[in-house]
Symmetry: D2
Subunit: 345 residues, 4 copies
């Protein structure tokens, strides 16, 4: 019998992609979904691409309404709405994957960047869900804090070099380009078609809250004090993040050597694909899929290296990685239900 | 043991999507692929999204090189290249699904619109592969002529009304809007990004070769002499065709009645989804999938009806329908391996 | 000394393009602009592309605040907000170009499609502003009702054929494809980037309020009782409308003859460009400009003709035509300040 | 009487935008244009947006055919084709603006990055045409080497900080995002709509030939030995380059102080607009225009600054700057004919 999942916040792009991916999953099914703006409607009226797949009625956001038989709860709620709900769920013994930002940072860092935390006592119980780096902890966690989209692309691109001490940990620049779905499905002039289309712009330069997430996770994972300068950009496409990462090498090394290092580091990671030398991945190569493709280039002129890391922000950057984590938590192979190829073009 | 497939012409968008979909298929695998421009390369160098999935070496187009164990051959070759190859394959007893235009028309109509046919004796042995209309013939066919993308959207939208005699069969207008992948992956200035982006244009007005395909198939299926005025347009997106079809009703009927008619007509067709009254489908609702969504509206002011039919041109309009046909030919359920939801956004 | 213009509703796309075009105009300058959501801000904070051009402070919508020296007032207000303001302006003796829908229809038709009119007594004083058809009336008008974007493309495409009696006036189909700026700058999920991008859809099929506008204007102009079946579609681009118009010819005529007819009809109209036979215009050919390019094709198979008409919806479909009308009203050449070429790509 | 211009290579995007902009120019007209692929055709058949503006017949590329009365020649030829033609033109005493790369670098640097130069003796006579930095030299030059698009955005963004010694000159990272028109109008699979759309990718990482152009020009201008790490990216839009520039500050300074510095540095430069603190420019703010908008942000966490510089690659990055240079060469105000606002959206 299939495991049962609930999705709180099912009508946004993250919730929607959770549904899409769980419909493909052979061992888990969605039996409960909420969407405060659409209570009482069928999910397929709100997301017409689901016609014929799922006629689930959307419920209000109320933990009491979640059926007891639910094995795993995904929370894909607007910022600030997660913490309280997650606390209730954990209190009832549910296993939870939170796709919000409330449990990704240490308490101290959270306070610096966000302010007071609604339930600080829960923070230490959350496991950060970059699957490739924290498999054991994730498989045993009751609460997984699913990573942000930008941090996923940056952390996967940087972990091998930092772990093996190849680069200066305080001279890292992450320049990321994101499609618009990363900003969610809510209404803001900035995401109106004509404001985004045929343009590119940076935002929250040096101030984006994903900065401490990248720093803290890499610092903890590598035992260093990592600092990054992070600049996100919005570009006119639906899905995809490309992060161009600039690092200072500690000693001379070739592109080929670094590529070999990455291949070894990720040898057991199905979803990380290291591309050949002189080839650079496009977000189009991973669209709709859980892959992270990485290209590496050493610039001999100045002893720096450039790492290019691409993901689909809604999949590896959100819902796909959440399901990868769910697989570990429920005892499945981490790639179960996620092995379909990208959709190109 | 899985059935074996060969794809002749694997590096274009149609061939590529055949590979993508067969990689998901539980009972069929691709063991042979050709691409004349890329002989000797790995398919995943030519189509990088396939990294890690398939390392098949691309072969030259030579029927002798196709392994004997191949159960089904897909030909996705440029216009005019199919016929000779298909003849050879049929001669060797292979079952073939031809995604080109060579076997879709009667000999006479072919001559009118294309000129001399390279192997007219084979035409009568080909079954036209709109799955929903010709299931029995397809399941028994040795050679299936897979429909064109525009005809698929038009024929599925018109069949119920013509079959039941609701409309004038010689006053039909089909106004279609297509994404650029329908034009293939070859190099032409017209498909350069900057020539297509931020613009829309009509082409081959009243002269497109899909016109006789729509007319002939519907005429045969419905026992009528159908005539359509067909205008294709190119719009700035990758995938998708929306056909807006204008018809003259023979007598007064409501939108609700027509919708009921469509629902009944397609009751056993998983891939045809009839949308509710006053809702119109977007190509975004079917992207990456084999669905055809249809909306219907009666215009009481003038006794006409408008039918809106959307497909993904590369899937239901080409490779997906080819696999649907393959399923029937190989004795599988027609939806096997094709049941994943669309990718939205 | 330059003439003075006021723009009521300056922060939307129509108001914005009025400003852009008036900044180029050699004889008129904007000295007053309103935007209720942004009162007190500089226009260039709300529309950053105007940095360095115009530092006008945005005012509230109050007719009393408009300086006396203003020669012409453009109202680019949300539906329903125009009528009252226009009434006040006309009462004060101002010349007004209303870019809304309130004064485009006869009273009776307005009631059928919109409901009660707020100031019916003014309707008969408004001149409909398709410049090419009503130059004399426009030049003498106090109040011009600037045409809708879809009607502009349809009326210009149909006028020659109807005026000279070449086609059946009650068998006309207008299938229009519009960029997103036509929907305005207000916030609706339907215009969120990810909802529009990579998709095409029809809306308000057979029910769009531009239908009676097309019918009534053409009927009046040609002395006929014209009926059209009109279907608008939204496509993923910023600017542009392409209307594909299907008509029934009364007698046999060639494409070349029709093209000659169009050339003669529009011989004195700088902004109408008739393209050669077998060529069809793209919206990209008119982007940013006041041109309407028209292509014509006779389909001999069934005695119909297809007319393709393209405009930039914000220019010839709104602000450009408004300035063309203003030129006539102020005694300038109608093309003054509008003669820059389109922007391609 | 208007000055006369010739454009060699008129059918590409750069040549096309030269024509567009010169049609607006009040004092210069195009009387001669070449396009080897389209000899004998009218320019408006090759670039239909020009219908009604210019019916110039396209000539073969032959210096002898250029009318004597031509005052200024623009060469917009494929790489490697310029040098020989420019040599002939200079020999005949013509004033030339070369939009290619042949005369932008010193002989030595050219050899390192390109190989042998076809006419090295001419290099020292060429003036590099970043207008804002080299006005005097440009106004007196016979031959201007018009800057590359990426270097324009990078050099304008870096010049004030380097000139005044605020930053480390050998720790500069330039991460640029370009629309597709920058790659030209020639046929390559990489620029097919479906290969570019819905994706972003880096290319020529650390190897792009615009790298030495940025370094050499800034080194010469500032009397330093500047080194940059440059990574270009292709994003799915027609026009625009955004360069995100990361620099190491020599001492602590605020964003406001740097913004003031930029405002002063560019006080006399109409086309450079410095945006307010905490605001970052989008390429959409400059589309179709000759502006370069610059935003600056000091990151106090690590003593770095981020400069965001946006241009329209075809205008300030090519044809617009060429006309700005032409204005100086012909004794006009540098902004003559270039003062129209950007086109938004």
């Amino acid at each position: 019998m299939k495991k049962k999942a609930a999705i709180l916040g099912a009508s946004g792009y993250t919730g929607s992609d959770l549904i899409r991916l769980l419909l493909i999953h052979p061992e888990v099914e969605v039996i409960h979904a909420t969407a405060e703006k659409h209570v009482g409607k069928s999910i397929s009226d709100v997301l017409p691409y689901l016609r014929g797949f799922l006629d689930l009625e959307l419920k209000p956001l109320d933990v009491e309404l979640i059926p007891d038989e639910v094995d795993i709860v995904f929370t894909a709620l607007p910022h600030g709405k997660s913490a309280g709900v997650v606390k209730e769920l954990v209190g009832k013994g549910k296993r939870v994957i939170d796709l919000g930002a409330d449990f990704r940072l240490s308490h101290q860092t959270y306070r610096e960047w966000y302010g007071d935390h609604p339930c600080p006592e829960l923070i230490s119980r959350a496991v950060y869900g970059i699957t490739e780096l924290f498999r054991t902890e994730i498989s045993e966690a009751q609460l997984v804090a699913n990573p942000g989209c930008y941090p996923t692309s940056a952390i996967l691109g940087l972990a091998p070099l930092l772990k093996y001490g190849f680069i200066e940990e305080r001279q890292i620049i992450v320049d990321s380009k994101s499609g618009v779905s990363g900003a969610g499905r809510s209404l803001e002039l900035a995401y109106h078609f004509c404001e985004v289309n045929e343009g590119v712009r940076a935002y929250k330069v040096g101030e984006h809250r994903h900065t401490p997430e990248i720093e803290e996770v890499l610092s903890r994972y590598c035992g260093l004090s990592v600092r990054v300068s992070f600049t996100p950009h919005l570009i006119p496409m639906d899905r995809g993040i490309l992060s161009t990462i600039y690092v200072k090498l500690k000693e001379v090394v070739s592109s080929a050597e670094l590529i070999a290092l990455y291949r070894e580091f990720y040898a057991d990671s199905f979803f990380i694909r290291i591309v050949p030398e002189s080839v650079y991945p496009s977000t189009a190569d991973v669209r709709g899929s859980n892959f992270c493709d990485i290209g590496v280039k050493v610039n001999k002129r100045d002893g720096t290296a450039v790492i290019i890391s691409v993901i689909d922000n809604l999949v590896k950057g959100a819902s796909g990685q959440a399901i990868q984590n769910m697989n570990l938590m429920l005892g499945f192979d981490e790639s179960l239900g996620l092995t379909m190829p990208p959709v190109f073009p």
